[in-house]
Symmetry: C2
Subunit: 207 residues, 2 copies
């Protein structure tokens, strides 16, 4: 216990990124769930590229760092966070069974990011209708894949359900911003609404 | 031993994807290294979307499957492959120390894929010079990040060095295809040449 307190006192955790990134939010929710104190440094890839590059030349978020290490890649960061907790109960105990839902969550979030770059960062005369259609159809496939397995997920949250909920929220936000329609997935929608009401999710709200 | 032989006999491993994807190649190299027999089903996201969608609606590669399971996501697939081997000596024993090199390898491969979609799949009049510049500068940052740590990697190959080598090869191939220049990173180049001469790399050649 003494060692744990010392660690927290001398090596505060800093999380770099903004909560509107689903990958940053996954890390913030895990830290909050485990009651590991952290400071959020709200830097964005698109709004603060120079300040972010000084911390991470790859220009990716999340970045997690303390006095002794800097870590990139949300999955590696989450594995490290699990190791810091005496009760890493966010670890998914049915890894293979939930592989598709987890992979679909990553595709959903990555393609929503691609959609944002296509329609939000590019000059309007350089938009490609076929690219938008390809992206939207991959997002739809991801939503259907998660929907098909959503009822089998445990009520207790874990890394898989956090990945699903954060990706779902981000995809809906991006689609609404550009007035695009995503397929309605009722089971998934209901579960995500339940998860979003949990205190750890509310504490890491993207809005 | 009997159980292992039975498993291999009754559940042959099928790897879906093409060797020109660095993420597919990582899996093929790991299977070859562990001497786990597998069949390659050469399907491409861009050339065979319908046939791939029938196996994986998310339209991503690699896919690994046998009689009892289907797995997506190269990192999850590699973790599963490690568990099938009695001597999983590709596991990186210095995870945190090599975190940056591994994250940079993923960025390098993902951005090379983005460059291919930008210049290879999009109509020429819809190319965005600023997007190409952003992608190239992220690839350059990734190369410099790997170069800075390349001399510290062990001579023995592991998942980190395989990730580096496969991403490097793919990035060079895409850049040469579009006659774009990437920064020269001499230490990295030399190490990748050494790795590419190893029998497991030659057996999984992308060309």
């Amino acid at each position: 216990l003494h060692k744990k307190i010392m660690t927290i006192f001398y090596a505060p955790i800093e999380l770099i990124g903004m909560m509107d990134s689903p990958f940053v939010r996954r890390v913030a929710i895990a830290l909050t769930h485990y009651e590991l104190p952290f400071q959020l440094q709200a830097l964005s890839v698109y709004q603060h590229p120079e300040r972010l590059a000084a911390i991470n030349p790859l220009l990716t978020v999340p970045v997690l760092r303390n006095a002794s290490l800097t870590l990139l890649d949300s999955r590696e960061i989450l594995a490290w966070i699990d190791m810091q907790s005496p009760h890493p109960n966010l670890r998914d105990t049915q890894l293979s069974a939930h592989n598709l839902a987890r992979a679909a969550s990553d595709v959903l979030a990555l393609k929503a990011g691609e959609l944002y770059r296509e329609l939000g960062l590019r000059n309007e005369n350089l938009h490609s209708e076929s690219s938008v259609q390809r992206i939207i159809s991959q997002m739809a496939a991801a939503l259907y894949s998660i929907e098909a397995t959503a009822h089998r997920l445990p009520d207790q949250i874990n890394h898989t359900s956090i990945a699903i909920a954060t990706s779902y929220r981000f995809a809906q936000t991006v689609a609404q911003h550009f007035r695009l329609e995503l397929p309605i997935t009722l089971t998934l929608q209901k579960r995500c609404q339940q998860w979003e009401h949990l205190p750890v999710f509310v504490a890491c709200d993207p809005d």
